[in-house]
Amino acid sequence: MLGFIIKRLLWMVPSLFAVSFLAFVLIQLPPGDYVTTYIATLAASNEIVDRTAAAELRARFGLDQPFIVQYLKWISGIVLRGDFGLSFEWQQPVSELIWERMALTLVVTSSTLLMTWAIAFPIGVFTAVRQYSIGDYFFTFLGFLGLAIPSFLLALVLMYVAVVLFGADVGGLFSPEYQTAPWSWGKVLNLIEHLWVPVLILATNGTASLIRIMRANMLDELHRPYVTTARAKGLSEFRLLLKYPVRVAINPFISTIGWLLPNLISGALIVAVVLSLPIAGPLLLQSLMSQDMYLAGAFVLLMCTLTLVGTLLSDILLALVDPRIRFD
């Protein structure tokens, strides 16, 4: 087991390296660099920066150096000092802007994951046990619909319904009085009150596919001889289900974190824009629009790292639950 975990942890090193490299390439992609943009903003307010000053700025930020050197400077700043560079739009270090938003992103995605499981698990088992019942067809249909409706559309429709029927705004994660307030118990409770709308919206898509996976897994197991044996022993149907087929069918369920998490992060981005949630998505979009690339790069890097860590956790969890993977 320890060997498996160590091997899996070692795999993280090249992956994280690749992700950081990718993020830096994305930072470098737009034409021009930080200083060009900076000069453009200054020029917009009628300040003229002469050529020597521009060159000095470039030297200060190390922009006159080759790509690889710049990358090494950037990544070593992040790893050693937690320094993600400077956001030119906000005129602040990037690290001051991102952490609270990343933490809230984590809160939203992890509660969505829990919600997805909580909904998909019982429904998946139910639809398999009562295959071809009305309930099965109903949930299968709902599942297909959940897969076909983009999450942002669902968010828009929900917002529309809330405004038209209840006159309420379901956007945001906090009430106005808590928006800029420092963290307190009241703020946490307020967050929980607001959290269910985005969580429910984000959960639909994942739930739909998870129900289908759970149902298919259960159907594979339900007709195995060991189920018949357990039934012949006189085990109650409920205990039988939970004790044998569900335990086998749940394995692929855990491995779904691996692909569910990237989808969730993606989905959360758009839903957050629609519902104006103070999580990473809207700020990333804004930074991309204004080509504030260090800020954008930091978000891309952290979001990718988050999913990689999630995949790592799901792999380890899976190895814990399923001995076949451990001893492979």
């Binding site: 992956s15 690749a18 409706i149 942002f152 429709v157 981005l269």
Partner: protein, 379 residues
């Protein structure tokens, strides 16, 4: 196989039909039994017909603005009228609506004018366009008898543009981006997947790690970052291709995985070994013997990949970093519905969203049916 097991003297007609059928025939017979998949196939076909000739079904030039019909509500299509003498006769029409202004807010208020209708005619003359982009014509499926009267089946947007015609036009871009994007993904996917599955070993190991890595990344942030790097002043067509390329840069991983899986399982099949012993070249083995036997699986995976592409394009354009107006796609149209004020005034701006849902549902049903039917020998 079935034929060999039968007694040679009396093959029943039904069995011999199955025994001599080609693989594609078996796939078709098995697919036909799947009701939802058939429905999906029919709807998909209809959507692609619309995508091929959107202007024929449109009633108004999709980019024509009309300041006198801002946020015009949808007009239902009525097929029959009750004449003065009580008889009902066939005369397609819509009810005309009159524009008034709210005296305080100056917001437009539309009221149905019961006395006046706009008569419609099939194959009516309307705005000029090119059928299939080639044949100049003015004929539309349906249009008002009086060309000066505009009709809005699905209402109009904030510039008075006809939502119905715009959705049809958007269908062309949205559906084609799915096809082109998947075609590009497929090209990369088949190439890398088949190399990976056929040769195995170290190449397989490297390609598999790359695929796992790509699948573990959140797609939207990376798509957005790539799309943001595109220069804004590029021509629309180039922009469109770059967006498709960006979408397929990540989309290929899933397809490559499917292809590799099939290659791995087929590599050890007897008929492949037989071909190899016969001295067939690698190319011949891959293209003549292996590819046909998993073609149906590829078709199914491709069908399931198209809706994902459509959703991706919609999301990207909705966020403003995908296709840019004046190009019309469903995502671009949904941008109009982005703020809560405009959708409260004009809920019909959700209609492009409904189009996305219908298209994605249809393609998903079709793909699911194809996947089940893909292996006709496995029954």
């Amino acid at each position: 196989m079935t034929a060999a097991a039968l007694p040679p003297s009396a093959p029943t007609p039904a069995v011999s039909r199955f025994a001599s059928a080609s693989q594609w025939q078996l796939v078709w017979w098995s697919f036909r039994k799947h009701k939802l998949a058939m429905l999906g196939a029919i709807v998909t076909l209809m959507i692609y017909i619309v995508a091929a000739i959107p202007d024929f079904f449109a009633t108004t030039d999709p980019s024509q603005q009309n300041a006198r019909a801002v946020y015009h509500p949808p007009q239902g299509l009525h097929l029959f009228v009750t004449e003065a003498d009580g008889r009902t006769s066939f005369r397609p029409h819509v009810k005309q609506m009159q524009l008034r202004r709210d005296p305080v807010t100056l917001a437009p208020i539309y009221q149905v004018d019961p006395t006046r209708t706009i008569d419609l005619r099939f194959f009516a003359e309307g705005y000029p366009y090119h059928l299939f982009g080639l044949i100049p014509t003015r004929i539309h499926l349906i249009g008002s008898t009086d060309p000066r009267q505009q009709i809005f089946f699905l209402g109009s947007d904030r510039l008075g543009r006809d939502v119905w015609s715009r959705i049809l036009k958007g269908c062309q871009i949205s559906m084609s981006i799915g096809l082109v994007g998947v075609a590009m993904s497929l090209l990369i996917g088949i190439l890398l997947g088949s190399i990976s599955g056929y040769y195995g070993g170290r190449i397989d190991f490297v390609i598999q790690r790359v695929i796992e890595f790509i699948l573990a990344l959140p797609t939207i942030p990376i798509w957005l970052a790539l799309a943001a790097a595109l220069p804004q002043n590029w021509p629309a067509l180039l922009h469109y291709f770059m967006i498709t390329l960006i979408l397929s840069l990540i989309g290929w991983a899933q397809l490559a995985r499917v292809v590799r899986g099939r290659f791995l399982s087929l590599r050890t099949e007897d008929f492949v070994t037989a071909a190899r012993l016969d001295g067939a070249s690698e190319m011949r083995i891959i293209f003549r013997h292996m590819l046909p036997s998993f073609m149906s699986h590829i078709v199914a995976s491709v069908t399931l990949a198209i809706p994902a592409m459509i959703l991706a394009e919609t999301a990207l354009s909705f966020l403003g970093l995908g296709l840019q107006p004046p190009v019309i796609s469903w995502g671009v149209l949904l941008r109009e519905a982005q703020n809560i004020r405009s959708i409260v005034t004009a809920p019909w701006l959700f209609a492009p969203g409904a189009a996305v849902v219908v298209a994605v549902l249809a393609l998903n049903f079709l793909g699911d049916g194809l996947r089940d039917a893909a292996d006709p020998y496995n029954k």
